[in-house]
Amino acid sequence: MSTENVIEVKNLTMEYSTRKGNVSAVDNVSFSIKRGQALGLVGESGCGKTSIAKSLLKLLPDNAMIQQGQIVLNGKDMVPLPEEEMRKHRWSEISMVFQAAMNAFNPVYTVGDQIIEAIETHLPDVSEKDARVKIENLFRMVGLAPEMVDRYPHEYSGGMRQRAVIAMALSCDPDIIIADEPTTALDVIVQDSILKEITTLQDRLNMSMVYISHDVAVIAEVSDRVGVMYAGRMVELADTEEIFIRPIHPYTYALMQSFPSVTGPKRELVALPGEPPDLLHPPKGCRFHPRCPNRIEKCDQEQPEWKDYGDNHFCACWNPMEIN
């Protein structure tokens, strides 16, 4: 693993404007990913993880606005780029595996045609013949029979469609792939084989990845580094093993304690009281304070600082878990 950062996100803040007011979906989030590294973003629905993915690709709905921050991809800030410029970077440098694989393909064209189209738009130098060879190779790589190239989406099962989506994401040799809940709708056995496929490919192609999932267990297995999101803010960021062994933020700790496992001793599950906040009116200070067992006086007044705890372990908390 080299030390070069493929992508660097600095102080990213994004809001949606709605009829009822502005929703602060991503608030001052920073992280960077090295070549070949996999970052897992974990959190519950509405925590801003998908909004980050959409911001990185700049595939934002009309009512979303990046208020501040930089997204530096291969040394170039993407935030100020107009859409035509951005299109050149999308797919060839940064691509995405979508959550709803069912809807990723147009039902009236073959899957191959749709991927060829993507290649032709983003890599104009590649001939159609070469593109076809490339797709067949990609299909083999993701574990699909090359004949499937000429089939229509409805002839694919859910798992096969997800594989095709991965092939499409790989089609323009990106440096980084964002996988937003790539296996959420799939059964465990299919999920297992697809996750294996992605991690193997990632190693082989020395790609960087961003995994986005609500599933702590999936993130634990596929990521090198984990960022925990809560209510639009990143609360903790560390290497995977480090964060699972030594969670510092009470939310991270609670998330892990509430996640059941099939192996190991059957420990008591801990339930977190309350609900995630309404991001139209996020709580003052630390956004987790209304549910936090560790809260102290200043938690509802001041936003906690993003502090370095050594070993590349960062956390934003006024009263962290005891570190032992």
Partner: protein, 332 residues
């Protein structure tokens, strides 16, 4: 309470015709549920686990009489005798509806958006003509408090869209329990909830089962959740139960090759533990006019000629209370 089981399922089948039209007889059938036999004791919680399309939801819906079985029977103990669910008269129907309820997966779609929480939770009381409107109001309030929606008065006259997913699922639990049924089918009740909310709902279901002496059939695809919710687990594959037994025994010492594969595919929320490689390949299909051989034959890593030429194996006790449907698993 008696030692006899609350629910007895015998030879339960559900076949869906394929290719049938108004004028043509269907030529083939999808064997969605194919010959299930199991019992659930009073106060017990049985988990029905399997991948999508294995027939677990269809089974659940036959148990609450949303679907009629093609064959076989479901018997429910009421008083000292059993009523046959698929063949009941007016009086038993009343008993049945008072004793059997269901919790649905989707907290958003399982509530009429134009009804208030009071009307939703009070629906079983209203349609079964239990109590006056003010008695129902009191009872609904009591159950809302019981599921943790306090104060009840601040929830009664709101609409489901004003509540969060976790709150709605609590409402769904209150609706299922408000007539104090003996048996509840819970179809993936927590799979759409966020982790931090899910644990609370799981604990609530367990507490209430104890308090109100409820027996659950807990349908889930998630073995880790089943571990916390169920006393026994039945693993389904293509309409058949392949293994059934006490939860911890099944999880720590699975015997059927499919159970093994399913277990080894579950990700573990601890990066220090590496799990075994999954031994099976291919995907789940449908049991359309199945061959007279083991349903798992095509994907089985330990199959042999015997499995190919003989009918699907029956469930047999293999040791430690485990029943397994496999010719290759030895009796201990």
């Amino acid at each position: 309470m008696s030692n006899q089981p609350l629910i007895k399922v015998e030879g339960l089948r559900k076949l869906y015709p394929i290719d049938g039209g108004v004028f043509r007889k269907p030529s083939s059938f999808n064997h969605a549920v194919d010959g299930l036999n199991f019992e659930i004791g009073h106060g017990e919680s049985l988990g029905l686990v399997g991948e999508s399309g294995c027939g677990k939801s269809t089974t659940g819906k036959m148990l609450v009489k949303l679907f009629e079985p093609s064959d076989g029977s479901v018997k429910l103990q009421v008083g000292d005798s059993y009523i046959n669910v698929s063949n009941i008269d007016r009086n038993s129907r009343k008993d049945f509806r008072r004793n059997v309820q269901m919790i649905f997966q989707d907290p958003y779609e399982s509530m009429n958006p134009r009804m208030t929480i009071f009307d939703i939770v009070g629906e079983p009381l209203a349609v079964q003509d239990i109590g006056t409107i003010s008695e129902r109001e009191e009872r609904v309030a009591e159950f809302l408090e019981m599921v943790g929606l306090t104060p009840a008065s601040s929830f009664m006259f709101r609409y489901p869209h004003e509540l969060s997913g976790g709150q709605r699922q609590r409402v769904a639990i209150a609706r299922a329990l408000v007539i104090e049924p003996a048996f509840v089918v819970a179809d993936e009740p927590t799979s759409m909830l966020d982790v931090s909310i899910r644990t609370g709902v799981m604990k609530l279901m367990q507490d209430l089962a104890e308090r109100l002496n409820v027996t659950y059939l807990y349908i889930t695809h998630d073995l880790a959740v089943a571990r916390y919710m169920c006393d026994r687990i039945a693993v389904m594959y293509l309409g058949k139960i392949v293994e059934i037994g006490p939860t911890e025994e099944l999880l720590s010492n699975p015997r059927h090759p499919y159970t093994k594969a399913l277990l080894s595919a579950v990700p573990i929320p601890d990066p220090r533990i590496k799990r075994d490689a999954v031994q099976i390949e291919g995907g789940i299909s449908k049991a359309i006019d199945p061959q007279p051989q083991c349903r798992f034959y095509a994907r089985c890593p330990i199959r042999d000629e015997h499995c190919k030429t003989h009918d699907h194996p029956p469930l047999e006790v293999k040791g430690n209370g485990m029943q397994v449907a496999c010719y290759k698993v030895p009796v201990e």
